[in-house]
């Protein structure tokens, strides 16, 4: 059974078609990346999965049932822009969120306590949300999304604003939940996070799916057409338009996209000839970032 099946869904607001004939499947137990530029229709799609919006055409199924009030309780949601009741106490606010997802208040209280302990927020349980630092508020909100053990966890930019330590804690919890059988939909603009965590992706643009499937298979289909290099010296050796299509500089690392059929040996030779000291020279699959940009600009052209 798939965790989510979206089939031929279209959603219009007046003259604007936010989502057009979108179909996608999210396998149960997977980490699924929903990607796309701003305004591509990601939020609208997520809202239809959560049954906040109803599609004009097509169907949405969650855990084998049509999206409905009943499926809502199976979902946990962390919205991109965070917020909790600022004047409520942390524990109270979280118990409320858990109860509204169907837990009894006693059960909600118990689980909120456990989670606060785990995320080292116990000392803040009786403080007002307003008194928490931004990072702590984020962690509290994450608890709100997972406390009712949702089968489907929808996370919109879960790491935004978190320091590396807290980001690692959240990441570990996500993977742990996945291992326990939860399905995770990750919506983010951080492609390196997608590459590290996601099993499958769907890239939407202008409300349509432009690229979907298993992430590894997608990358494989592009082949190892990218050179990842670190070196010291003049980069003139890369100015070979017949071999190199595009160069991306990241400071220390430089990525060069090769033209089809170009021989990377040629470039290495040129570098050595130019007296450049090469410390890294690796032929890799294109980064998701490049695929994203390529697909989106292709569609916009």
């Amino acid at each position: 059974m798939d965790a989510v099946v979206i089939d031929g869904v279209t959603k219009r607001f007046d003259s604007i078609t936010a989502v057009q004939d979108l179909s996608l499947r999210v396998e149960q137990g997977a980490v699924f990346g929903l990607l796309g530029p701003n305004g591509a229709g990601k939020t609208t799609s997520l809202r239809m999965i959560m049954h906040i919006l109803v599609p004009d055409e097509g169907t949405v199924q969650v855990m084998g049932q049509p999206a409905s009030e009943r499926t809502q309780d199976l979902i946990g949601y962390l919205p991109e822009e965070r917020g909790l009741y600022r004047r409520m106490k942390v524990r109270e606010a979280l118990v409320f969120l858990a109860a509204i997802k169907g837990l009894s208040e006693a059960e909600a209280g118990r689980r909120v306590g456990e989670w606060l302990e785990r995320l080292e927020l116990s000392a803040w349980a009786e403080k007002k949300i307003n008194d928490l630092s931004k990072g702590m508020q984020q962690k509290a909100q994450f608890i709100g999304a997972v406390v009712h053990r949702p089968s489907l966890l929808i996370l919109d930019e879960p790491f935004a604003g978190l320091d590396p330590v807290n980001a690692a804690i959240i990441k570990d919890i996500m993977l742990e939940l996945r291992d326990k059988g939860s399905t995770i939909i990750l919506s983010t603009h951080r492609m390196e996070q997608v590459e590290m965590m996601c099993d499958a992706i769907c890239l939407v643009n202008h409300g349509r799916s432009v690229l979907a499937g298993d992430l590894r298979a997608i990358k494989k289909s592009y082949g190892k057409n990218t050179l990842r290099m670190e070196y010291e010296g003049d980069e003139k050796f890369l100015e070979r338009p017949e071999l190199v299509e595009k160069v991306n500089r990241f400071g220390a690392v430089v990525e060069a996209k090769l033209r089809p059929g170009a021989d990377p040996q040629e470039i290495l030779k040129a570098a050595v000839a130019a007296g450049v000291r090469v410390s890294r020279f690796e032929l890799v699959e294109p980064p998701l970032n490049d695929i994203f940009i390529e697909k989106v600009s292709e569609a916009n052209a």
């Binding site: 007046d14 809202r47 919205p79 917020g83 009741y85 600022r86 004047r87």
Partner: protein, 424 residues
């Protein structure tokens, strides 16, 4: 249903526990009692020292009578006025006035009364003083001069007067309210009850309507509403919120009502203990009025609160609220400022018509019931119109709310709002 209850409970508990609630519950009555008490205190304590007054009588022979009219003591037992000097027909009016003015400037005198020669023919008397804000003294002095002059005029015409105040005392009118239940002497209690009802309804509709709106905006700006909408139907969300805020309102009334009853019981006991025989004007609030007020409050609150909630859903920030809430607030304010029309004649055609308007009915129909119970068919018709309108507004508002809570950025135009109504 369980989820509505959770929403109501959260809304209620966070509000009732907030400092704002405690403050307004204790503060508002204290404030109004305080204002009343302070003004009463200030009014009675306006002068706590004997005023030194002189009399400049240019006509002559009036000063004894005037002085007689200025007897009486302050609450602390000292005389109210001390007549420092009486100038009867001075050689020079100019010099006399100048001398007295100098004394006022030197602080030896609080003021003096000048009676002109032509006072019997209707010329004005004057009160010279450094403190021109003291109108109560002016009133007392005016009355004293008045009586002295009247007495002189009468005696000039051969009427001998011993006890003038008794002779010139006017006739007071008592108003008797005739209603189905009998006749009651009217000492303004109908007005007091009517006005209180109007004030209470007006303040409640505004305060709790706005509270509902703020609550919607808070959830929208913090984006909690997205989580809530992914858990509960927006209509339930709205219903829970409106009921929660209403429960807060009822709690506040319950507290005020209970304290009010206890205090008024205590107050009248104290009053009769201190001055046996004296009774406060008996303010009797008929149960039927309370029941009607409650019904109309519930309908009116639903009407306005759902309106306010829709407004809250339309904006993306607290700052925008001020502008959008104007139209609805104006409706309530208009209902409030129309009340004198109803008070003057509760059964005039104008009163009947304006009390039927659903947006005004919660205030004006209740006022009519308080003043002079209208025919039952009018109340029933009014209630029917109000309930139908409220159902319509609730329907409309919940649609706006459902769409609005998920929309950010530019405030929608009227055309866009109409389109929202069609969204699924």
């Amino acid at each position: 249903m369980r989820k509505i209850w959770l929403i109501v409970k959260r809304e209620y508990l966070t509000r009732v526990r907030s400092k704002g609630f405690i403050f307004s519950t204790i503060g508002l009555p204290l404030f109004s009692v305080g204002i009343f008490g302070v003004s009463l205190f200030l009014a009675t304590r306006a002068t706590d020292h004997t005023l030194k007054i002189s009399i400049l009588d240019n006509l002559g022979g009036l000063s004894t009578q005037i002085a007689a009219g200025l007897k009486g003591n302050l609450p602390n037992g000292k005389p109210h006025y001390e007549i420092v000097k009486i100038l009867d027909r001075p050689a020079s009016e100019e010099d006399a006035r100048k001398g007295l003015n100098d004394q006022i400037r030197a602080g030896q005198l609080d003021g003096f009364v000048e009676v002109p020669k032509g006072v019997l023919e209707g010329n004005d008397a004057s009160f010279y003083t450094s403190n021109t804000g003291d109108f109560s003294t002016l009133g007392t002095l005016g009355k004293a001069v008045d009586n002295a002059v009247i007495e002189r005029r009468l005696s000039d015409r051969g009427v001998h007067v011993d006890d003038l105040p008794k002779l010139v005392h006017g006739v007071d009118m008592t108003m008797v309210k005739v209603s189905k239940s009998g006749e009651t002497e009217e000492k303004g209690q109908t007005f007091v009850v009517g006005f209180s009802v109007v004030m209470v309804l007006y303040i409640t509709l505004v305060v709790y309507g706005v509270a509902t709106m703020r609550s919607v905006v808070e959830e929208k700006t913090t984006r909690i509403v997205e989580i809530l909408a992914s858990s509960v139907k927006p209509v339930y969300l709205l219903a829970g919120k409106i009921l929660g805020v209403a429960a807060v309102g009822f709690t506040q009334y319950l507290i005020w009502g209970t304290c009010g009853m206890l205090l008024s019981g205590y107050g009248s006991t104290m009053a009769s203990a201190m001055r046996p025989g004296a009774s406060l004007p008996n303010i009797h609030v008929p149960t039927s009025l309370l029941v009607y007020a409650l019904i109309f409050f519930v309908v009116g609150y639903l009407l306005y609160a759902s309106f306010y909630a829709a407004l809250g859903a339309m904006v993306s920030s607290e700052e925008e609220l001020q502008q959008v809430q104007m139209p609805v607030t104006i409706l309530i304010v208009v209902a409030f400022i129309l009340y004198p029309i109803v008070i003057r004649d509760a059964n005039s055609t104008t009163s009947v018509i304006i009390s039927m308007v659903p947006f005004f009915a919660p205030i004006l129909m209740v006022l009519r019931i308080a003043l002079q119970t209208p025919p039952f068919w009018q109340i029933a018709l009014c209630l029917a119109i109000s309930i139908l309108t409220t159902l319509g507004v609730v329907q409309f508002s919940s649609k706006i709310y459902r769409v609005g809570i998920l929309m950010y950025g530019k405030r929608p135009s009227v055309v866009e709002l109409l389109k929202w109504l069609k969204y699924t």
